[in-house]
Symmetry: C2
Subunit: 329 residues, 2 copies
């Protein structure tokens, strides 16, 4: 009998779930509203309902290899504990993996999204064949996952891999959501791009820019998508902001290459959709911030493959084992 | 019969070697001049002579578990290849591990110094009992070693762990030996401390300072030791330079904690000898550059234990295996 994996991606507004084959193929997917605003019992019920539907579709516990759950952080992947996620009101120290295991008699694991997405990219996405991979997702924030020997590196408390909070400019005036200054997330994530463009347009107030036209002069309407669009149309300010984003990411990735000497770097997330101009700026910068420019230049910068349903794939990846040979790192 | 390990530390001026027990006790040590200036054959002969003496003292190949060799980089620990070290003229792609194995019929490994020192601190130094450790040595440069599950993390090409070249200030005017700007090594290693003090005294040229007196006004005579000494005597400029060094290291280590979530950080090297004022500045800074200040504050910052003969201990550590349980990270 074919064994399937249930992957569940718990967000603040919706819970997405799917059945994934051991080869990483999504054969069924479902979505339910999280009902987070109704509190703990209601949102947990939605999650369990979704799992139940997928469980029944698969044909019961015998048909299932495991249930992977991506939950909002902070959480502990070692113990399956969801601590106190800001966007799941009422949740406090919920032993989610244990609850799911008891209910469905199938092994369950809890993981954070960037770690799981990184693992999925290595097992059946952009980085198949690579062992040590640094995964990056650039969207509202910058999430990273450290994959060593095709496994997630968790660190002591299960909170390793927060590369978005590595500082590349300690006296930057740009504050990070974490409270610190100069984290790469505070400089290069989507909202950071928007803030830099807004500051630029305020300071260089006589400079004409498509960004002013596209927002009808209301800079609070600026989005990363509008910046990307203006850059593509050749707008100088927008092009500068995109190139600067690539520069920041390049400085930072130069350091990550020095630390991890990875087989590959995978970059996903909404901001990565900007594509070539962003990637080119990253590639141009990396050698200038590398102890070994020739080697750093050769590290493949891969675009993430599993953009749609990456959460479901990531959750399912927790139960896929690549044939990892001897732990010979 | 008790099995011993030979640890060899190859420097540009001397080769140090020792016999180390499986418990990490140094029972015999010897030093020879490297004679690097006489070229490849002469310096290799010195190394082999030293190994021979230790081999004979141990009682031959049956008494030996292995021969660990710390060689100047670049090198490849996977293959035991010493590539082209600037301070060993004439050496080019030398298969050092293979040569030593053939000559002595004992297994040999080649490693870089910071990696090996980090491993030694974990196996029988300051970080015994810890599994995931970030090791730092601050002296002429900043070397780091990433220890995961009590093993050195090497990365794809064996050059991982170059944390000294992570950039904490991309627009710093301070250039690093690697060619880049703003690497932590360019800001916080011994020569960087001296440079910052020199610049400070030049810019604030009317400011009296013990540093001017100790160098008789010749700032090119400034050393990290003189800065430490002046700071201890209460000199304001020297104290500022030491605190700034701690600040830089703290910003950087905040990022390393976010990435690695380590059990502990071990700090060694000459600059670490400054001790309390430096460590206090590091500790004060880390929480401000951490996504999780409470957790970051709790990561033990340990002073390296194996300062004297750390090279010999490190080389020997390559043949010590802690009883590492399942690779469950």
């Amino acid at each position: 009998m074919r064994r399937l994996i249930i992957g569940i991606d718990i967000g603040g507004t919706k819970v997405a779930g799917g059945l994934v084959t051991p080869q990483g193929r999504l054969v069924k997917s479902l979505i339910l509203p999280t009902h987070a605003e109704r509190g703990y019992a209601a949102s947990l019920a939605q999650i369990l309902t979704l799992i139940q539907q997928l469980h029944d579709a698969a044909g019961g516990p015998e048909a299932l290899e495991g249930i992977g759950l991506l939950a909002p952080g902070p959480l502990n992947p070692h113990t399956g504990l969801v601590i106190n996620p800001p966007n799941l009101p009422g949740w406090k120290n919920v032993k989610l993996a244990e609850k799911v295991e008891r209910r469905f008699h199938v092994k369950a694991k809890v993981e954070n999204d960037a770690n799981a997405a990184g693992l999925a990219e290595v097992l059946f996405g952009a980085a198949v064949g690579h062992r040590h991979v640094f995964y990056v997702t650039v969207s509202t924030g910058i999430g990273t996952g450290i994959i060593i020997n095709r496994k997630i590196y968790h660190g002591k408390n299960g909170v390793a891999g927060e590369g978005g909070h590595v500082c590349v400019d300690y006296h930057s005036p740009y504050r990070c959501g974490c409270g610190s200054f100069g984290c790469i997330e505070a400089l290069a994530a989507g909202p950071a791009m928007v803030r830099r463009a807004q500051v630029h347009l305020l300071q260089d107030h006589t400079q004409p820019s498509l960004l002013r036209d596209l927002t009808h002069g209301q800079l609070n309407r600026l989005t990363p998508q509008l910046i990307a669009q203006a850059a593509e149309s050749g707008d100088a300010v927008a092009k500068f902001i995109v190139e600067q984003t690539g520069f920041f990411l390049g400085v930072w990735l130069g350091g990550m290459i020095a630390l991890f000497d990875p087989d590959a770097i995978v970059i996903g997330g909404g901001v990565a959709q900007i594509g070539k101009p962003l990637f080119q700026a990253i590639r141009n910068t990396i050698p200038y911030h590398s102890i070994n420019p020739n080697l750093a230049r050769r590290v493949p910068l891969l675009r993430a493959k599993l953009n749609k349903n990456v959460g479901i794939y990531g959750a399912a990846a927790l139960f896929l084992r690549a044939g990892v040979e001897a732990e010979n790192f």
